[in-house]
Protein backbone atom coordinates (compact mmCIF):
# COMPACT_ATOMS: atom_id res chain seq x y z
CA UNK A 1 0.00 0.00 0.00
CA UNK A 2 1.27 3.46 -0.72
CA UNK A 3 1.39 6.28 1.78
CA UNK A 4 -1.78 7.88 0.45
CA UNK A 5 -3.86 4.84 1.26
CA UNK A 6 -2.60 4.79 4.81
CA UNK A 7 -3.46 8.40 5.43
CA UNK A 8 -6.82 8.95 7.02
CA UNK A 9 -6.02 12.20 8.78
CA UNK A 10 -3.70 14.65 7.05
CA UNK A 11 -2.64 18.20 7.60
CA UNK A 12 -4.57 20.86 5.70
CA UNK A 13 -2.62 22.09 2.65
CA UNK A 14 -2.49 25.64 3.96
CA UNK A 15 -0.91 24.67 7.28
CA UNK A 16 2.82 24.78 7.83
CA UNK A 17 4.62 21.58 8.81
CA UNK A 18 5.65 22.70 12.27
CA UNK A 19 4.70 21.98 15.86
CA UNK A 20 2.54 24.55 17.62
CA UNK A 21 3.67 26.28 20.81
CA UNK A 22 0.42 25.49 22.63
CA UNK A 23 0.27 23.67 25.98
CA UNK A 24 -1.10 20.11 26.36
CA UNK A 25 -4.89 20.08 26.20
CA UNK A 26 -5.15 23.64 24.82
CA UNK A 27 -7.96 24.31 22.37
CA UNK A 28 -6.00 26.70 20.15
CA UNK A 29 -4.46 23.95 18.01
CA UNK A 30 -7.94 22.70 17.12
CA UNK A 31 -9.03 26.23 16.26
CA UNK A 32 -6.02 26.74 14.00
CA UNK A 33 -6.69 23.45 12.26
CA UNK A 34 -10.36 24.25 11.67
CA UNK A 35 -9.39 27.56 10.08
CA UNK A 36 -6.86 25.70 7.91
CA UNK A 37 -9.49 23.20 6.76
CA UNK A 38 -11.89 25.99 5.86
CA UNK A 39 -9.23 27.94 3.92
CA UNK A 40 -8.46 24.76 1.96
CA UNK A 41 -12.09 24.00 1.32
CA UNK A 42 -12.87 27.51 0.11
CA UNK A 43 -9.69 27.72 -1.97
CA UNK A 44 -8.69 31.12 -0.58
CA UNK A 45 -5.07 30.49 0.44
CA UNK A 46 -3.71 32.93 -2.14
CA UNK A 47 -5.82 35.83 -0.97
CA UNK A 48 -6.06 35.14 2.75
CA UNK A 49 -4.43 37.47 5.28
CA UNK A 50 -3.94 36.16 8.83
CA UNK A 51 -3.83 38.87 11.47
CA UNK A 52 -2.31 37.65 14.70
CA UNK A 53 -2.91 39.40 17.98
CA UNK A 54 -1.32 39.38 21.43
CA UNK A 55 -1.56 36.48 23.85
CA UNK A 56 -1.55 32.79 22.95
CA UNK A 57 -2.68 33.75 19.44
CA UNK A 58 0.50 35.76 18.91
CA UNK A 59 2.11 33.47 16.36
CA UNK A 60 -1.07 32.47 14.54
CA UNK A 61 0.45 33.61 11.25
CA UNK A 62 3.30 31.16 11.74
CA UNK A 63 1.01 28.16 11.20
CA UNK A 64 -0.52 29.12 7.85
CA UNK A 65 1.05 29.46 4.43
CA UNK A 66 -0.71 32.78 3.90
CA UNK A 67 0.42 36.39 4.18
CA UNK A 68 0.31 37.54 7.77
CA UNK A 69 0.63 40.49 10.06
CA UNK A 70 1.06 40.85 13.78
CA UNK A 71 -1.22 43.43 15.33
CA UNK A 72 -0.68 45.24 18.61
CA UNK A 73 -2.70 44.12 21.64
CA UNK A 74 -6.40 44.49 20.85
CA UNK A 75 -5.86 46.33 17.56
CA UNK A 76 -6.36 43.48 15.10
CA UNK A 77 -9.84 44.72 14.06
CA UNK A 78 -8.36 48.15 13.20
CA UNK A 79 -5.64 46.53 11.10
CA UNK A 80 -8.15 44.23 9.39
CA UNK A 81 -10.44 47.19 8.71
CA UNK A 82 -7.71 49.00 6.80
CA UNK A 83 -6.56 45.93 4.89
CA UNK A 84 -10.08 45.22 3.68
CA UNK A 85 -10.92 48.84 2.91
CA UNK A 86 -7.78 49.11 0.79
CA UNK A 87 -8.04 45.61 -0.72
CA UNK A 88 -11.63 44.31 -0.68
CA UNK A 89 -10.55 41.30 -2.77
CA UNK A 90 -8.43 39.89 0.08
CA UNK A 91 -9.89 37.61 2.76
CA UNK A 92 -8.77 38.92 6.15
CA UNK A 93 -9.22 37.12 9.42
CA UNK A 94 -8.11 37.89 12.95
CA UNK A 95 -7.53 35.34 15.69
CA UNK A 96 -7.97 37.02 19.08
CA UNK A 97 -8.21 35.85 22.66
CA UNK A 98 -10.56 37.17 25.33
CA UNK A 99 -8.02 39.54 26.90
CA UNK A 100 -7.11 40.93 23.50
CA UNK A 101 -10.62 41.32 22.11
CA UNK A 102 -12.82 41.83 25.16
CA UNK A 103 -10.53 43.91 27.36
CA UNK A 104 -7.86 46.06 25.74
CA UNK A 105 -9.37 45.80 22.26
CA UNK A 106 -13.03 46.27 23.12
CA UNK A 107 -13.27 49.64 21.39
CA UNK A 108 -11.75 48.31 18.16
CA UNK A 109 -14.04 45.27 17.90
CA UNK A 110 -17.19 47.20 18.82
CA UNK A 111 -16.53 49.88 16.20
CA UNK A 112 -15.50 47.37 13.53
CA UNK A 113 -18.82 45.61 14.19
CA UNK A 114 -20.76 48.87 14.18
CA UNK A 115 -19.24 49.80 10.83
CA UNK A 116 -19.99 46.35 9.45
CA UNK A 117 -16.41 45.89 8.27
CA UNK A 118 -16.11 42.92 5.97
CA UNK A 119 -13.68 40.57 7.72
CA UNK A 120 -13.81 37.51 9.94
CA UNK A 121 -12.96 37.32 13.63
CA UNK A 122 -12.12 34.05 15.34
CA UNK A 123 -12.46 34.86 19.01
CA UNK A 124 -10.96 32.26 21.35
CA UNK A 125 -12.50 32.53 24.80
CA UNK A 126 -10.79 30.49 27.50
CA UNK A 127 -11.79 32.75 30.40
CA UNK A 128 -8.24 33.68 31.29
CA UNK A 129 -5.01 35.35 30.14
CA UNK A 130 -3.17 32.21 29.06
CA UNK A 131 0.11 33.67 27.82
CA UNK A 132 0.85 35.81 30.86
CA UNK A 133 0.12 33.09 33.39
CA UNK A 134 -3.61 32.89 34.01
CA UNK A 135 -4.73 36.27 35.31
CA UNK A 136 -8.29 37.59 35.51
CA UNK A 137 -9.83 38.11 32.07
CA UNK A 138 -13.00 40.03 31.21
CA UNK A 139 -14.53 36.59 30.60
CA UNK A 140 -13.31 34.95 33.83
CA UNK A 141 -16.22 33.24 35.60
CA UNK A 142 -17.51 34.44 38.95
CA UNK A 143 -15.77 32.52 41.71
CA UNK A 144 -13.03 31.33 39.34
CA UNK A 145 -9.52 31.29 40.76
CA UNK A 146 -6.90 33.07 38.69
CA UNK A 147 -3.40 34.27 39.52
CA UNK A 148 -4.79 37.80 40.06
CA UNK A 149 -8.00 36.76 41.82
CA UNK A 150 -6.46 34.45 44.43
CA UNK A 151 -9.75 34.26 46.36
CA UNK A 152 -11.81 33.72 43.22
CA UNK A 153 -13.44 36.39 41.05
CA UNK A 154 -15.92 38.39 43.10
CA UNK A 155 -18.32 40.71 41.30
CA UNK A 156 -17.76 43.33 43.98
CA UNK A 157 -14.03 43.51 43.39
CA UNK A 158 -13.67 42.54 39.73
CA UNK A 159 -17.10 42.99 38.17
CA UNK A 160 -19.01 40.54 36.02
CA UNK A 161 -17.92 38.41 33.06
CA UNK A 162 -18.77 39.82 29.62
CA UNK A 163 -20.85 37.88 27.10
CA UNK A 164 -19.19 39.22 23.97
CA UNK A 165 -21.26 37.50 21.30
CA UNK A 166 -24.59 38.57 22.81
CA UNK A 167 -23.34 42.13 23.24
CA UNK A 168 -21.97 42.50 19.70
CA UNK A 169 -25.12 40.91 18.27
CA UNK A 170 -27.05 44.01 19.37
CA UNK A 171 -25.17 45.99 16.70
CA UNK A 172 -26.45 46.32 13.16
CA UNK A 173 -23.15 45.82 11.31
CA UNK A 174 -22.28 42.17 11.84
CA UNK A 175 -23.62 39.54 9.44
CA UNK A 176 -22.97 36.46 11.55
CA UNK A 177 -22.12 35.90 15.22
CA UNK A 178 -22.01 32.46 16.80
CA UNK A 179 -20.58 30.85 19.91
CA UNK A 180 -19.20 27.35 19.58
CA UNK A 181 -16.90 25.10 21.62
CA UNK A 182 -14.14 22.59 20.96
CA UNK A 183 -14.47 20.28 23.96
CA UNK A 184 -16.11 17.32 22.16
CA UNK A 185 -15.84 15.98 18.60
CA UNK A 186 -19.50 16.86 17.92
CA UNK A 187 -18.88 20.44 19.00
CA UNK A 188 -15.72 20.62 16.93
CA UNK A 189 -17.77 19.70 13.86
CA UNK A 190 -20.27 22.46 14.66
CA UNK A 191 -17.45 24.92 15.27
CA UNK A 192 -15.88 24.12 11.92
CA UNK A 193 -19.22 24.68 10.23
CA UNK A 194 -19.61 28.06 11.95
CA UNK A 195 -16.12 29.10 10.85
CA UNK A 196 -16.95 28.11 7.30
CA UNK A 197 -20.16 30.18 7.40
CA UNK A 198 -18.18 33.11 8.76
CA UNK A 199 -15.62 32.99 5.93
CA UNK A 200 -18.35 32.51 3.33
CA UNK A 201 -20.17 35.55 4.71
CA UNK A 202 -17.01 37.60 4.20
CA UNK A 203 -16.51 36.23 0.69
CA UNK A 204 -20.07 37.32 -0.11
CA UNK A 205 -19.28 40.78 1.26
CA UNK A 206 -21.99 40.64 3.92
CA UNK A 207 -20.20 42.39 6.81
CA UNK A 208 -18.33 41.38 9.91
CA UNK A 209 -18.54 37.71 10.89
CA UNK A 210 -17.41 36.54 14.30
CA UNK A 211 -17.14 33.08 15.78
CA UNK A 212 -16.53 32.90 19.52
CA UNK A 213 -14.86 29.61 20.29
CA UNK A 214 -14.87 28.40 23.89
CA UNK A 215 -11.45 26.88 24.26
CA UNK A 216 -9.77 24.80 26.96
CA UNK A 217 -6.89 26.15 29.03
CA UNK A 218 -6.18 23.28 31.44
CA UNK A 219 -2.86 24.73 32.63
CA UNK A 220 -4.47 27.91 33.92
CA UNK A 221 -7.77 26.31 34.91
CA UNK A 222 -5.55 24.02 36.98
CA UNK A 223 -7.26 20.86 35.80
CA UNK A 224 -5.88 17.80 33.99
CA UNK A 225 -6.12 18.15 30.19
CA UNK A 226 -8.48 15.18 30.09
CA UNK A 227 -10.77 16.84 32.64
CA UNK A 228 -10.82 20.20 30.88
CA UNK A 229 -13.70 19.33 28.51
CA UNK A 230 -15.89 18.38 31.48
CA UNK A 231 -14.86 21.57 33.28
CA UNK A 232 -15.89 23.58 30.23
CA UNK A 233 -19.20 21.78 30.06
CA UNK A 234 -20.00 22.34 33.72
CA UNK A 235 -18.60 25.83 34.29
CA UNK A 236 -18.23 27.75 31.07
CA UNK A 237 -21.18 26.76 28.96
CA UNK A 238 -23.81 27.76 31.56
CA UNK A 239 -22.28 31.27 31.52
CA UNK A 240 -21.61 31.27 27.77
CA UNK A 241 -24.43 29.38 26.05
CA UNK A 242 -23.62 27.97 22.63
CA UNK A 243 -25.58 29.05 19.59
CA UNK A 244 -26.01 31.67 16.92
CA UNK A 245 -26.72 35.23 18.02
CA UNK A 246 -26.81 37.02 14.70
CA UNK A 247 -27.64 35.52 11.32
CA UNK A 248 -28.75 38.05 8.74
CA UNK A 249 -31.10 36.69 6.05
CA UNK A 250 -28.35 36.65 3.39
CA UNK A 251 -26.20 34.47 5.66
CA UNK A 252 -29.19 32.22 6.33
CA UNK A 253 -29.62 31.71 2.57
CA UNK A 254 -25.90 31.13 2.17
CA UNK A 255 -25.94 28.52 4.94
CA UNK A 256 -28.82 26.65 3.38
CA UNK A 257 -26.89 26.42 0.14
CA UNK A 258 -23.88 24.84 1.91
CA UNK A 259 -23.50 21.07 1.70
CA UNK A 260 -23.52 18.97 4.86
Amino acid sequence: MNEEEYRIFGRPEVMEDRPTHFCPGCGHGIIQRMIGEVIDELGIQERAICIGSIGCTVTSYAYFKVDGLEAAHGRAPAVATAIKRCHPELIAFTIQGDGDLASIGMAEIVHACARGENFTVIFANNATYGMTGGQLAPTTLLGMYTSSTPLGRSEKQAGFPIRVSEMLATLDGPSYIARVAVHTPANVRKARKAIEIAFRAQMAGLGLSLVEVLSMCPINWKVEPRQAPAWMNEKMIPQYPLGEFKVIPEVERLRRSMRG
Binding site: E46, F64, D67
Partner: protein, 348 residues
Protein backbone atom coordinates in the same frame (compact mmCIF):
# COMPACT_ATOMS: atom_id res chain seq x y z
CA UNK B 1 3.39 73.44 -13.54
CA UNK B 2 3.80 76.39 -11.20
CA UNK B 3 0.27 77.39 -10.29
CA UNK B 4 0.13 79.38 -7.05
CA UNK B 5 -2.74 78.71 -4.70
CA UNK B 6 -3.62 80.27 -1.38
CA UNK B 7 -3.70 77.40 1.04
CA UNK B 8 -3.83 76.59 4.74
CA UNK B 9 -0.94 74.72 6.33
CA UNK B 10 -2.96 71.64 7.23
CA UNK B 11 -4.51 71.55 3.76
CA UNK B 12 -1.03 71.70 2.24
CA UNK B 13 -0.10 68.57 4.21
CA UNK B 14 -3.19 66.80 2.83
CA UNK B 15 -2.54 67.94 -0.75
CA UNK B 16 1.15 67.08 -0.47
CA UNK B 17 0.20 63.59 0.65
CA UNK B 18 -2.15 63.15 -2.29
CA UNK B 19 0.52 64.41 -4.71
CA UNK B 20 2.90 61.86 -3.17
CA UNK B 21 0.46 59.06 -3.94
CA UNK B 22 -1.08 58.64 -0.50
CA UNK B 23 -4.34 56.74 -1.00
CA UNK B 24 -5.37 55.89 2.55
CA UNK B 25 -6.06 58.32 5.38
CA UNK B 26 -7.27 57.42 8.86
CA UNK B 27 -7.79 60.02 11.54
CA UNK B 28 -9.66 61.24 14.58
CA UNK B 29 -10.81 64.81 15.22
CA UNK B 30 -8.51 66.89 17.40
CA UNK B 31 -7.81 70.61 17.25
CA UNK B 32 -5.76 72.18 15.62
CA UNK B 33 -5.66 69.64 12.77
CA UNK B 34 -9.37 69.11 12.11
CA UNK B 35 -9.30 70.81 8.72
CA UNK B 36 -6.74 68.25 7.56
CA UNK B 37 -9.10 65.37 8.40
CA UNK B 38 -12.08 67.21 6.91
CA UNK B 39 -10.16 67.94 3.73
CA UNK B 40 -9.22 64.28 3.37
CA UNK B 41 -12.86 63.30 3.89
CA UNK B 42 -13.72 64.67 0.47
CA UNK B 43 -10.35 64.48 -1.28
CA UNK B 44 -9.62 60.79 -0.68
CA UNK B 45 -12.80 59.61 -2.42
CA UNK B 46 -12.04 62.04 -5.27
CA UNK B 47 -8.66 60.43 -5.92
CA UNK B 48 -9.91 56.88 -5.42
CA UNK B 49 -8.42 56.53 -1.96
CA UNK B 50 -9.72 55.34 1.39
CA UNK B 51 -10.85 57.77 4.10
CA UNK B 52 -12.06 56.67 7.49
CA UNK B 53 -12.77 58.69 10.61
CA UNK B 54 -11.79 56.28 13.35
CA UNK B 55 -12.99 55.64 16.89
CA UNK B 56 -9.67 56.84 18.35
CA UNK B 57 -6.15 57.85 17.43
CA UNK B 58 -5.14 54.35 18.50
CA UNK B 59 -7.40 52.80 15.90
CA UNK B 60 -6.19 55.35 13.33
CA UNK B 61 -2.51 54.48 13.68
CA UNK B 62 -3.25 50.76 13.62
CA UNK B 63 -5.29 51.23 10.46
CA UNK B 64 -2.35 53.09 8.94
CA UNK B 65 -0.24 50.07 9.94
CA UNK B 66 -2.65 47.68 8.20
CA UNK B 67 -3.02 49.80 5.05
CA UNK B 68 0.71 50.48 4.74
CA UNK B 69 1.44 46.77 5.24
CA UNK B 70 -0.40 46.11 1.97
CA UNK B 71 2.00 48.48 0.18
CA UNK B 72 -0.30 51.50 -0.09
CA UNK B 73 1.01 54.93 0.85
CA UNK B 74 -0.97 55.70 4.01
CA UNK B 75 -1.03 58.41 6.65
CA UNK B 76 -2.71 59.81 9.71
CA UNK B 77 -2.66 63.26 11.23
CA UNK B 78 -3.23 64.25 14.80
CA UNK B 79 -2.20 66.71 17.48
CA UNK B 80 -0.15 66.18 20.61
CA UNK B 81 -2.51 64.20 22.93
CA UNK B 82 -3.48 62.00 19.99
CA UNK B 83 0.16 61.61 19.02
CA UNK B 84 0.85 60.22 22.50
CA UNK B 85 -1.78 57.53 21.90
CA UNK B 86 -0.20 56.65 18.57
CA UNK B 87 3.22 55.79 19.97
CA UNK B 88 2.24 52.14 20.31
CA UNK B 89 1.44 51.79 16.63
CA UNK B 90 4.48 53.78 15.54
CA UNK B 91 6.73 51.45 17.53
CA UNK B 92 5.11 48.42 15.86
CA UNK B 93 5.64 49.99 12.44
CA UNK B 94 9.27 50.79 13.18
CA UNK B 95 9.79 47.23 14.46
CA UNK B 96 8.07 45.61 11.49
CA UNK B 97 9.55 48.00 8.90
CA UNK B 98 6.22 49.37 7.74
CA UNK B 99 6.52 52.79 6.05
CA UNK B 100 3.93 55.48 6.76
CA UNK B 101 3.63 59.18 7.47
CA UNK B 102 2.29 60.71 10.67
CA UNK B 103 1.64 64.44 10.80
CA UNK B 104 1.69 65.86 14.32
CA UNK B 105 0.25 69.39 14.36
CA UNK B 106 1.43 70.21 17.86
CA UNK B 107 -0.57 71.99 20.55
CA UNK B 108 0.34 72.97 24.07
CA UNK B 109 0.71 70.37 26.79
CA UNK B 110 1.27 68.60 29.07
CA UNK B 111 -2.02 66.83 29.61
CA UNK B 112 -4.89 68.56 27.91
CA UNK B 113 -2.93 71.82 27.71
CA UNK B 114 -4.73 73.96 25.17
CA UNK B 115 -5.24 74.24 21.44
CA UNK B 116 -2.60 76.94 20.92
CA UNK B 117 0.42 76.02 18.84
CA UNK B 118 3.52 74.67 20.56
CA UNK B 119 6.67 72.66 19.98
CA UNK B 120 6.59 70.66 23.18
CA UNK B 121 6.55 67.26 21.47
CA UNK B 122 10.14 67.72 20.27
CA UNK B 123 11.55 64.97 22.46
CA UNK B 124 8.68 62.62 21.74
CA UNK B 125 9.00 63.14 17.99
CA UNK B 126 12.78 63.00 17.73
CA UNK B 127 13.49 60.21 20.19
CA UNK B 128 10.94 57.76 18.88
CA UNK B 129 8.43 58.26 21.65
CA UNK B 130 7.24 54.67 21.76
CA UNK B 131 8.74 51.63 23.44
CA UNK B 132 11.93 49.92 22.33
CA UNK B 133 14.94 51.60 20.78
CA UNK B 134 14.10 52.74 17.30
CA UNK B 135 14.67 55.86 15.22
CA UNK B 136 12.49 57.93 12.97
CA UNK B 137 13.08 60.75 10.56
CA UNK B 138 11.26 63.85 11.79
CA UNK B 139 10.67 66.72 9.36
CA UNK B 140 9.89 70.23 10.60
CA UNK B 141 8.30 72.51 7.99
CA UNK B 142 8.29 76.25 8.64
CA UNK B 143 6.14 77.52 5.73
CA UNK B 144 2.92 76.33 4.15
CA UNK B 145 4.94 75.49 1.03
CA UNK B 146 7.14 73.28 3.16
CA UNK B 147 4.07 71.66 4.71
CA UNK B 148 3.40 70.36 1.20
CA UNK B 149 6.96 69.69 0.13
CA UNK B 150 8.12 67.97 3.29
CA UNK B 151 5.00 65.81 3.42
CA UNK B 152 5.91 64.62 -0.08
CA UNK B 153 9.48 64.05 1.04
CA UNK B 154 8.19 62.18 4.10
CA UNK B 155 6.48 59.57 1.91
CA UNK B 156 9.62 59.18 -0.19
CA UNK B 157 11.84 58.69 2.86
CA UNK B 158 9.35 56.36 4.54
CA UNK B 159 9.48 54.02 1.55
CA UNK B 160 13.24 54.44 1.10
CA UNK B 161 13.92 53.26 4.65
CA UNK B 162 10.74 51.20 5.25
CA UNK B 163 10.20 53.26 8.38
CA UNK B 164 7.54 55.64 9.72
CA UNK B 165 8.33 59.34 9.17
CA UNK B 166 6.97 62.18 11.29
CA UNK B 167 5.96 65.58 9.90
CA UNK B 168 6.13 67.81 12.96
CA UNK B 169 4.49 71.24 12.73
CA UNK B 170 2.86 73.48 15.30
CA UNK B 171 -0.76 74.57 15.35
CA UNK B 172 0.06 78.11 14.20
CA UNK B 173 1.64 76.77 11.03
CA UNK B 174 -1.24 74.34 10.54
CA UNK B 175 -3.68 77.26 10.56
CA UNK B 176 -1.52 79.70 8.56
CA UNK B 177 -2.61 80.69 5.02
CA UNK B 178 0.07 81.28 2.38
CA UNK B 179 0.53 81.00 -1.37
CA UNK B 180 1.76 77.60 -2.42
CA UNK B 181 3.28 76.46 -5.70
CA UNK B 182 1.57 73.21 -6.55
CA UNK B 183 4.02 70.37 -7.21
CA UNK B 184 3.81 67.65 -9.81
CA UNK B 185 2.25 64.45 -8.62
CA UNK B 186 4.58 61.52 -8.03
CA UNK B 187 3.87 59.02 -10.79
CA UNK B 188 6.27 56.15 -10.21
CA UNK B 189 5.84 54.59 -6.79
CA UNK B 190 8.40 52.07 -5.55
CA UNK B 191 7.65 48.37 -5.85
CA UNK B 192 7.05 46.68 -2.49
CA UNK B 193 7.77 42.99 -2.69
CA UNK B 194 7.47 42.67 1.07
CA UNK B 195 3.83 43.81 1.20
CA UNK B 196 1.00 41.52 2.27
CA UNK B 197 -1.18 41.24 -0.81
CA UNK B 198 -1.99 37.52 -0.79
CA UNK B 199 0.64 34.75 -1.13
CA UNK B 200 0.05 34.06 -4.82
CA UNK B 201 2.96 32.61 -6.76
CA UNK B 202 5.43 33.47 -4.02
CA UNK B 203 6.26 32.43 -0.45
CA UNK B 204 4.17 34.14 2.19
CA UNK B 205 5.09 37.61 3.46
CA UNK B 206 4.96 38.46 7.15
CA UNK B 207 4.79 41.89 8.75
CA UNK B 208 5.81 41.48 12.36
CA UNK B 209 8.20 42.63 15.04
CA UNK B 210 8.14 39.51 17.21
CA UNK B 211 10.72 36.84 17.89
CA UNK B 212 9.59 34.14 20.30
CA UNK B 213 13.18 33.21 21.10
CA UNK B 214 15.40 36.03 22.44
CA UNK B 215 18.43 34.27 20.95
CA UNK B 216 17.12 35.08 17.46
CA UNK B 217 16.19 38.68 18.17
CA UNK B 218 19.53 40.57 18.35
CA UNK B 219 20.44 39.69 14.74
CA UNK B 220 17.21 41.24 13.52
CA UNK B 221 17.60 44.35 15.69
CA UNK B 222 21.19 44.74 14.50
CA UNK B 223 19.95 45.10 10.92
CA UNK B 224 17.44 47.73 12.04
CA UNK B 225 20.10 49.63 13.98
CA UNK B 226 22.36 49.63 10.91
CA UNK B 227 19.50 50.94 8.79
CA UNK B 228 18.76 53.73 11.26
CA UNK B 229 22.44 54.64 11.35
CA UNK B 230 22.44 54.95 7.54
CA UNK B 231 19.34 57.12 7.84
CA UNK B 232 21.07 59.40 10.35
CA UNK B 233 24.18 59.66 8.17
CA UNK B 234 22.35 60.42 4.94
CA UNK B 235 19.19 62.36 5.68
CA UNK B 236 20.19 65.35 7.82
CA UNK B 237 18.85 68.57 6.30
CA UNK B 238 19.01 72.16 7.45
CA UNK B 239 18.85 75.68 6.09
CA UNK B 240 21.63 78.10 6.95
CA UNK B 241 21.27 81.88 6.56
CA UNK B 242 24.11 84.36 7.09
CA UNK B 243 26.21 81.71 8.81
CA UNK B 244 29.42 82.67 6.95
CA UNK B 245 30.31 85.65 9.14
CA UNK B 246 27.98 84.93 12.06
CA UNK B 247 29.21 85.48 15.60
CA UNK B 248 25.88 84.50 17.08
CA UNK B 249 23.96 81.56 15.65
CA UNK B 250 20.25 81.40 16.17
CA UNK B 251 18.76 77.89 16.03
CA UNK B 252 15.03 77.54 15.47
CA UNK B 253 12.58 75.37 13.53
CA UNK B 254 8.93 75.61 12.47
CA UNK B 255 7.01 78.75 13.43
CA UNK B 256 9.80 79.80 15.79
CA UNK B 257 12.17 79.92 12.81
CA UNK B 258 9.92 82.49 11.13
CA UNK B 259 10.12 84.77 14.16
CA UNK B 260 13.81 83.88 14.23
CA UNK B 261 14.26 85.09 10.66
CA UNK B 262 12.72 88.48 11.54
CA UNK B 263 14.86 88.68 14.68
CA UNK B 264 17.98 87.93 12.65
CA UNK B 265 17.10 90.72 10.18
CA UNK B 266 16.52 93.15 13.08
CA UNK B 267 19.90 92.18 14.52
CA UNK B 268 21.69 92.61 11.20
CA UNK B 269 20.17 96.10 10.87
CA UNK B 270 21.71 96.77 14.29
CA UNK B 271 25.12 95.52 13.05
CA UNK B 272 24.93 92.36 15.15
CA UNK B 273 26.40 89.45 13.19
CA UNK B 274 23.65 86.88 13.57
CA UNK B 275 23.09 83.79 11.42
CA UNK B 276 20.16 81.42 11.43
CA UNK B 277 20.45 77.65 11.40
CA UNK B 278 17.05 76.11 10.79
CA UNK B 279 16.89 72.33 11.15
CA UNK B 280 14.59 70.88 8.47
CA UNK B 281 15.11 67.40 9.85
CA UNK B 282 15.05 67.73 13.63
CA UNK B 283 15.88 64.04 13.55
CA UNK B 284 18.56 63.48 12.31
CA UNK B 285 19.69 66.72 13.97
CA UNK B 286 22.29 69.19 12.65
CA UNK B 287 24.96 68.09 15.11
CA UNK B 288 27.94 68.47 12.77
CA UNK B 289 27.14 71.92 11.33
CA UNK B 290 26.62 73.22 14.86
CA UNK B 291 29.81 71.58 16.09
CA UNK B 292 31.70 73.30 13.26
CA UNK B 293 30.22 76.68 14.22
CA UNK B 294 31.16 76.08 17.87
CA UNK B 295 34.69 75.29 16.74
CA UNK B 296 34.73 78.74 15.12
CA UNK B 297 33.83 80.36 18.46
CA UNK B 298 30.20 81.23 17.77
CA UNK B 299 27.69 81.89 20.54
CA UNK B 300 24.28 80.26 20.28
CA UNK B 301 20.67 81.24 20.89
CA UNK B 302 18.06 78.49 20.84
CA UNK B 303 14.57 79.79 20.09
CA UNK B 304 11.75 77.30 20.58
CA UNK B 305 8.16 77.07 21.71
CA UNK B 306 8.76 74.65 24.57
CA UNK B 307 10.43 74.52 27.94
CA UNK B 308 13.77 73.99 26.19
CA UNK B 309 13.93 70.64 24.45
CA UNK B 310 15.96 71.25 21.30
CA UNK B 311 18.30 73.06 23.68
CA UNK B 312 19.60 69.64 24.78
CA UNK B 313 20.48 68.67 21.21
CA UNK B 314 22.25 71.97 20.68
CA UNK B 315 24.21 71.49 23.89
CA UNK B 316 25.19 68.02 22.72
CA UNK B 317 26.32 69.45 19.39
CA UNK B 318 28.37 72.42 20.61
CA UNK B 319 29.76 71.03 23.86
CA UNK B 320 30.10 72.63 27.26
CA UNK B 321 32.50 75.42 26.30
CA UNK B 322 30.12 77.36 24.06
CA UNK B 323 27.75 79.97 25.38
CA UNK B 324 24.08 79.07 24.80
CA UNK B 325 20.97 81.10 25.61
CA UNK B 326 17.42 79.82 25.47
CA UNK B 327 14.58 82.09 24.42
CA UNK B 328 11.26 80.40 24.44
CA UNK B 329 7.50 80.53 24.75
CA UNK B 330 5.22 77.84 26.09
CA UNK B 331 1.61 77.20 26.97
CA UNK B 332 0.27 77.78 23.47
CA UNK B 333 1.53 81.30 22.75
CA UNK B 334 3.79 82.28 19.82
CA UNK B 335 7.43 83.17 20.23
CA UNK B 336 7.83 86.74 19.00
CA UNK B 337 10.64 88.21 16.92
CA UNK B 338 11.04 90.94 19.57
CA UNK B 339 11.66 88.40 22.30
CA UNK B 340 14.24 86.61 20.17
CA UNK B 341 15.94 89.88 19.19
CA UNK B 342 16.21 90.83 22.83
CA UNK B 343 17.96 87.54 23.58
CA UNK B 344 20.36 88.11 20.68
CA UNK B 345 21.08 91.64 21.85
CA UNK B 346 21.86 90.44 25.36
CA UNK B 347 24.58 88.13 24.03
CA UNK B 348 26.53 90.92 22.37
Amino acid sequence: MSERTLMGGNIAVAEGAILAGCRAYFGYPITPQNDLLEHMAHRMPEVGGVFLQTESELAAINMVYGAAATGIRAMTSTSSPGFSLQQEGISYMAGSETPAVIANIMRAGPGLGNIGGAQGDYMQCTRGGGHGDYSLICLAPSTVQEMMDLTMLAFELADKYRNPVIVMADGFLGQAMEPVVMRDPVRALPEKKWAITGAKGRPKNLINSFEMNPIDHPARIKLLLEKWERMRQQEMRYEGLNLEDAEIVLIAFGSAARSGLSAMQMARRNKIKVGLLRPITVMPFSYQPLADLAERGCKFVVAEMSGGQMLEDVRMAVGNDSEIRLVNSYGGVPLTADAIFEALDLLV
